[in-house]
């Protein structure tokens, strides 16, 4: 029997503020254990949390970008549970009155159609500390305690692991565009829990769900959901029942396992936090943020296709990170050949980013220099092969491409007389191939072009060489 999975995602996103949510400790990742802590985030008695204004701003920005309604009044609540990573024994969160509600993201499915995924709510909360499990004890680092989080809860609208991944990637891109988080799943600044259930067909009521925790990469979201789907199918096919539970995904083994002893823990006894007054947002505050909003990925994609005549695939790549689009537009401004600029970004530049593990603006090639390389090709001054050499040289030395071409004498040779001599020389050096080529073996064209390029040190202009080769062999 086959089943349809029903998936909803809860995504925790660390906000990239300078200080923590309720105290002035630094919000930087990677400090020595327990050095970014103070009486407030250590949960000492008698302290008072004071809300970071940026946390409200960032969450509303995210809410607007995700098409949410912004509540004019929202309230903090205490979520009570005991765990050593939570020194107060309660987490300050939002419960009944979250700051953003009823939003959505449009994702693109593999067949090219769009699907709208509902966002139930976004609420503000504080992160907990980090536990290091050692033999016989656990060691607690509370640096992360009080890191501002927004929890973004989707509707159970996702129907496959692939859709879940597409949703997550789109969410990440949008949050990067509004600059509220660096959304680094590997470093934990974006974390995902998946609620997964299955049902016999799309008209059946939802089945019992399991909550999968600890999924820390896009690939693992897909793996964890696929595994869980199979596990539940097996249980039902063997006549069993799905238990509502929390399960932990293990990235090494690729399986999910039940977290024992958590049955009680879901009784969180939420109540409004008396230490924090409600957030009331004025219309002007929200309107100002609406006015601030940058162009978002969907709008940019449509514009890149219409304004620059790019294909959907090219435009999709360029909007996948905000910096790519910025880089592209800067380069096109310097030399108006969008398709070629896009190809160079997707090809050579991305290869360099992978090699150097750096961002697009750190790769050593400014958009203006990339544009200059494309311009040199378009003007027939250098060949595509030479351009790659110039690209590497520019990236390493920071010199202008035109200067490198002049310095090293890399200008493409279009002189018919000189090239004719080279073609003759190559034909003479390969008499057997020349005979076969003359005899109609057309595929040898590539061989000869290669030899000629080699003999000219890559500088022969192919557009001039091709007719010469034809002339001298007919």
């Amino acid at each position: 029997m086959s089943y349809e999975p029903v998936i909803g995602l809860e995504v925790h996103v660390q906000m990239s503020t300078d200080s923590k949510i309720f105290c002035t400790c630094s919000n930087k990742f990677g400090a020595e254990p327990n050095t970014n802590v103070c009486p407030v985030c250590l949960g000492m008695p008698g302290v008072l949390p004071v809300l970071n204004e940026k946390v409200v701003e960032y969450t509303v920005k995210a809410g607007l970008a995700l098409n949410c309604q912004i509540r004019s009044k929202s309230v903090f609540a205490r979520k009570n549970y005991f765990y050593p990573d939570l020194p107060k024994a309660y987490q300050i969160s939002q419960y009944e009155l979250p700051i953003c509600e009823h939003g959505y993201i449009d994702i693109e499915l593999e067949d090219g159609t769009q699907k709208r995924i509902g966002i139930t709510r976004i609420h503000i909360e504080e992160d907990a500390g980090k536990l290091n499990h050692e033999a016989g004890c656990s060691l607690v680092d509370l640096n992360r305690t009080g890191t501002p989080l927004m929890e973004i809860v989707s509707e159970p609208d996702l129907r496959s692991a692939e859709e879940a991944k597409a949703y997550l990637m789109k969410l990440k891109t949008i949050l990067e565009y509004v600059e509220v988080s660096d959304c680094n799943m590997e470093e934990g600044s974006m974390r995902c829990d998946a609620n997964v259930s299955i049902r016999p067909d799309s008209n059946a009521p939802f089945g019992t769900r399991a909550e999968i925790k600890n999924v820390n990469s896009f690939r693992n979201v897909e793996r964890a959901i696929k595994y869980e789907q199979k596990r539940q199918e097996k249980v039902l096919n063997e006549g069993g029942k799905i238990v509502q539970e929390t399960r932990l995904f293990n990235a090494d083994t690729g399986i999910t396992a039940s977290m024992r002893g958590k049955e009680d823990a879901h009784d969180y006894r939420y109540f409004p936090d008396p230490d924090l007054v409600p957030i009331v947002l004025e219309d002007k505050f929200i309107d100002d943020l609406k006015a601030w909003m940058p162009e978002l990925p969907d709008a940019k994609l449509a514009r890149f296709m219409s304004e620059y005549g790019l294909s959907g695939m090219d435009a999709d790549f360029l909007v996948s990170a905000k910096a790519y689009g910025q880089y592209f537009e800067q380069a096109v401004k310097a030399h108006n050949n969008p398709k070629a600029v896009c190809n160079w970004i997707m090809g050579e530049l991305m290869r360099r980013l992978n090699d150097k593990q750096c961002t697009i603006f750190e790769a050593g090639i400014s958009p203006e220099n990339l544009a200059e390389i494309v311009k040199l090709i378009d003007e027939g001054k250098i060949s595509g092969n030479i351009a790659k050499q110039v690209f590497d040289e520019t990236a390493e030395t920071g010199k202008k491409p035109a200067d490198i071409v002049a310095e090293k004498g890399l200008v493409q040779n279009s002189n018919e007389d000189e090239l004719e001599a080279i073609v003759k020389q190559v034909l003479d050096a390969n008499p057997a191939e020349t005979e076969r080529f003359k005899g109609g073996e057309v595929k040898l064209q590539g061989f000869f072009m290669g030899q000629i390029m080699k003999a000219s040190k890559g500088k022969a202009n192919p557009a001039v060489v091709a007719p010469l080769l034809k002339k001298l062999t007919s």
Binding site: D18, P33, L51, N52, S138, V140, V277, V280
Partner: protein, 97 residues
Amino acid sequence: MSQTVSKKDVLHIATLARLKFDDEQAERFTNDLNNILGYIDKLNELNTDNIEPTSHALDIYTVTRPDKAEASLSNEDAIRNAPQSENGMFRVPKVIE
């Protein structure tokens, strides 16, 4: 008086709060809690149809501070009161997930 809180509820809440009660204490708290809730029940006699739920009694909203990081405690001070510590971290009994 109606029993809104059962002894089972009291023992459940005690477990969540990491408290241990013997039988006599559990009986007593059940009784006390029912008395308290019964008293508070009086509020239900009021008509609150057009009143928004109150979470805070103060007429103050949106108290925030600028996003500016300042110095934290030293690691020494941070773990000074910890019964056990190791490598600058709080050492606690092993928690098994």
